[in-house]
Subunit: 278 residues, 2 copies
């Protein structure tokens, strides 16, 4: 969150990703730096309280960091939200979740951005990379064409799905399944049968390349691209839909894991701060 909020008390900062593998850490640092440099003055400074920027549980087996920068009023960005979460598992391993999302405001109908890694074994993880649509794609074929058919997103999906270690991943939540666009990368990478080091290799080469390419498409097409005027009626529609999307996504994602890992009190504190901003 910039020099002013550096934590000099020995606590890890968001962009340090202390529990991520080298490939995920390098990729996330690269993606966040690209987002911050490209959006620049479109983003306000991170104003999250220190005890939300980093927190842990009483037994020190679970650690998390949140990073949030709101968009400036004249930008098409509502806010960008980054997070990492590390939790030792009773079985001996650890669960690591690392994510970066950007939510748009209703000055545009362009898609949001979601990048997420969910890893609970050393040799496999779930990877999500998508620009979630903000309109019903059946009712809006032009929207489907602009953002999905003509954008090149499908190439990235196909490249990743060709890897022999890759399987489609189906979320247990039907709501989460509904969020994803038709070109969403939603997959499990399992390298347990091809040697552990293949995972870092796939992350460093294939996954990093796809994530950087999708981020570039999102920046050019959705954020910095040509603006079309959004009518008042549509603004109201987007506001309602986005508001449901944000609260339900954060509730499903953070609201379901935090109480178990950090206790109800910490979870309530984090969620109440997020709810105020969101």
């Amino acid at each position: 969150c910039g020099a002013a909020s550096q934590m000099d008390n020995g606590q890890p900062r968001f962009k340090e990703f202390p529990y991520a593998s080298p490939a995920i850490k390098n990729l996330m640092v690269d993606l966040i730096s690209t987002v911050e440099n490209s959006l620049d003055s479109m983003l306000l400074p991170c104003t999250l309280p220190q005890d939300i920027q980093y927190f842990h549980n009483q037994t020190d087996t679970a650690h998390a960091s949140l990073f949030l920068r709101s968009g400036s009023p004249s930008s098409p960005i509502d806010f960008i939200l980054g997070s990492w979460l590390h939790c030792e598992l009773p079985t001996g391993g650890a669960l690591n979740i690392t994510s970066l999302s950007s939510y748009m405001n209703n000055s545009t109908d362009a898609p949001h951005l979601v990048i997420e890694f969910i890893q609970n074994t050393p040799t496999s993880l779930v990877f999500i990379l998508d620009l979630p649509h903000r309109k019903d794609l059946i009712l809006h074929p032009h929207y489907l064409k602009t953002f999905y058919e003509d954008s090149g997103l499908e190439n990235q999906r196909q490249l990743l799905n060709k890897l022999s270690e890759v399987q489609p991943y189906v979320s247990p939540s039907l709501y989460i399944r509904s969020v994803f666009s038709p070109t969403a990368v939603v997959l499990r990478i399992d390298t347990s049968s091809s040697g552990g080091e293949r995972l870092e290799e796939i992350l460093r080469d294939d996954v990093s390349s796809a994530a950087k390419m999708v981020l570039e498409i999102w920046l050019n097409l959705c954020v910095l691209g040509e603006k079309q005027g959004i009518q008042d009626e549509e603004k109201a529609y987007l506001k309602t839909r986005d508001s449901m999307f944000k609260s339900k996504s954060i509730e499903t994602d953070i609201g379901s894991t935090l109480p178990r890992m950090f206790g109800q009190e910490t979870a309530d504190r984090v969620l109440s701060v997020l709810r105020e901003i969101i």
Copy 2:
């Protein structure tokens, strides 16, 4: 299409499924008889012209049959549409497509029904079984809950996807991907490595059981279930969305294959009859 339209000139009738495998034929006959018996007076007789109920190409290498019954004005059914299509391939095999769909009208917002088999090798096929939603699921969580979370559809999807011969199928059309609900069965069954007879076995046991169960859910929940009043504004919304859904589905499905297989003249004749009804 009932006794009045029986073809006694030696041409195959829709319900004969002359090119389907025994398991697909038995299942389709069973499903259509269940639909017709359950809906009964909700359906008007089939009024398709004879030369649309069955047609073939000049060289007799492609054959097709269509079956359409409109819903009565007081029913929630717009129409049910069945089809089979057989086409000899230059490579020696044949392409067989067999489908049954039901489209709802705007007196209800309950999901449509789609069942389809696409087979172009003797040992593998694509199977689609879904109740496509008619509202944006992000904006309507209650709709998601009623028709998908609480209906038991997910069980059927999971049972089929557990089979070792089953892989998820991803349609090349982004539009078609957008049509499917989060519990859609969209899969490829490939038995080439486990012996050809496994395909008929899977169709007869697993696929038939899932299709009958999903049809029962659709009949009870979407057609015969409790009616809630649909407001005028929502009726207009459903009408617009359904109209785009129907024309685009039929255009993508029939419009893209018919000209290649039956020539432009036959394709135009079939599409113009369908467009009038739809």
